[in-house]
């Protein structure tokens, strides 16, 4: 009898503390916040994304709206590689190089054909997406995390475009090119840290 009572008392706390079995696990808010913070907390991501926006604004239409539309899609393809665990060598080097190359493009006011610009940005987008995908925290709400980091990336592009629009004025043009130079220097620093 006593044994039964002990067993019952062992079972009851389990029942009282059990929570619902839900298909959609993870904290949506936490997932979104961590996804949104991921690109913002990595200075290498921040400067490269701003450089994409700056360069888009510098190149003018159609690049100014094509790059922010194409970049998230290519970045998602890179994210898929990271999530699936497909090895992508030199990811961090690629991210640092993206800051150097894109910063230099802005600093030198380079105007290559649109397809070259899109290809260059697309290649770097794969590295950035791969890093986001590979670092997905276990247990996070996948959709909220993905939406968060895609939106943060888009917001950084828009910030770069907004600043890049200053290039319409001569003084603004100098400021934008100087910002491109600073981004390239930051990229060299990131690359140096990897060595």
């Amino acid at each position: 009898m006593t044994r039964y009572v002990i067993r019952l008392f062992a079972v009851l706390p389990c029942l009282l503390m059990a929570s619902d079995a839900l298909a959609h696990t993870g904290d949506v808010t936490g997932g979104f916040a961590s996804g949104f913070a991921h690109p913002l907390l990595g200075p290498d991501h921040v400067v490269a994304m701003v450089a994409v926006g700056l360069w888009g604004a510098f190149l003018g239409p159609p690049a100014i709206y094509l790059l922010p539309v194409v970049f998230p899609l290519v970045m998602a393809a890179g994210g898929v590689l990271g999530i699936l665990g497909v090895p992508l060598p030199f990811t961090e080097v690629g991210i640092a190089l993206s800051a150097i190359v894109l910063g230099l493009m802005v600093a030198m006011a380079a105007r290559p054909p649109l397809w070259i610009a899109a290809l260059l940005v697309g290649v770097f987008a794969i590295f950035h997406g791969y890093a986001h995908g590979a670092e997905l925290p276990p247990g996070a709400d996948a959709l909220a995390y993905s939406a968060g980091f895609v939106m943060a990336t888009g917001a950084l592009h828009l910030a770069g475009i907004a600043f890049g629009l200053l290039a319409r004025w001569p003084a603004g043009r100098i400021a934008v090119r100087a910002a491109g130079g600073l981004i390239a220097v930051a990229g060299v620093v990131f690359l140096g840290r990897l060595a």
Partner: protein, 195 residues
């Protein structure tokens, strides 16, 4: 014997149902169903994608696509009421979010028939991914009616808002948002493939 019976009763009384999605704000019944589409992130993504696509194609498209969506949604909820709940419905919703988001990003004129096909597929998939979260048949049916209203209202609201985006920068914003929807859907599909 008595204690075993008590333990069984405790199990029955304290156990929570296994739910496909957590009840929105803890609400059940009609209002639980009404809010359901707005609280399942995959459904929100698909509804935003379809709504933006239909709104973007206005006024060339009429109201055939939203009407087809509502009919398919009702039919799908009817199927759910007959206790058919496929496991692939969540993935189907995400694939449709990817397709509609990608089409919004492309912003090319499309035949209305294509919109109707996508609307039917989205309505049906969302319905099949909305199994009632209650055990009583009566309450389940009330919840399904609420879901029918909620998912219809949400789509019509997005279509109405998207059709008002007539300025260039607004249409560009919709394209960027479409690419974010597609990118998020790609990533979540990859995560589901892995987990």
């Amino acid at each position: 014997m008595m204690l075993r019976a008590l333990a069984t009763v405790a199990f029955v009384l304290l156990a929570d149902p296994a739910m496909a999605h957590p009840p929105p704000l803890g609400l059940k019944g009609f209002f639980g169903g009404l809010l359901h589409p707005a609280f399942v992130s995959g459904h929100v993504l698909a509804l935003l994608g379809l709504g933006l696509l239909i709104g973007q194609q206005m006024p060339a498209w009429g109201m055939a696509a939203p009407a087809a969506y509502i009919v398919a949604l009702a039919a799908g909820l009817g199927v759910i009421a007959l206790a058919f709940a496929p496991t692939w419905a969540g993935e189907a919703v995400l694939v449709l979010a990817l397709v509609t988001g990608g089409l919004v990003a492309l912003a090319r004129p499309l035949p209305e028939a294509a919109g109707c096909v996508l609307a039917v597929a989205t309505g049906f998939a969302i319905a099949l991914d909305s199994p009632p979260e209650v055990i009583s048949v009566r309450e389940a049916n009330i919840m399904l009616i609420g879901t029918a209203f909620g998912a219809s209202i949400l789509l019509v609201a997005v279509v109405e808002a998207a059709s008002r985006l007539t300025r260039n920068w607004q249409r560009l914003g919709a394209r960027i948002f479409g690419s974010w929807i597609a990118a998020s859907a790609i990533l979540v599909l990859a995560i589901r493939l892995v987990r």
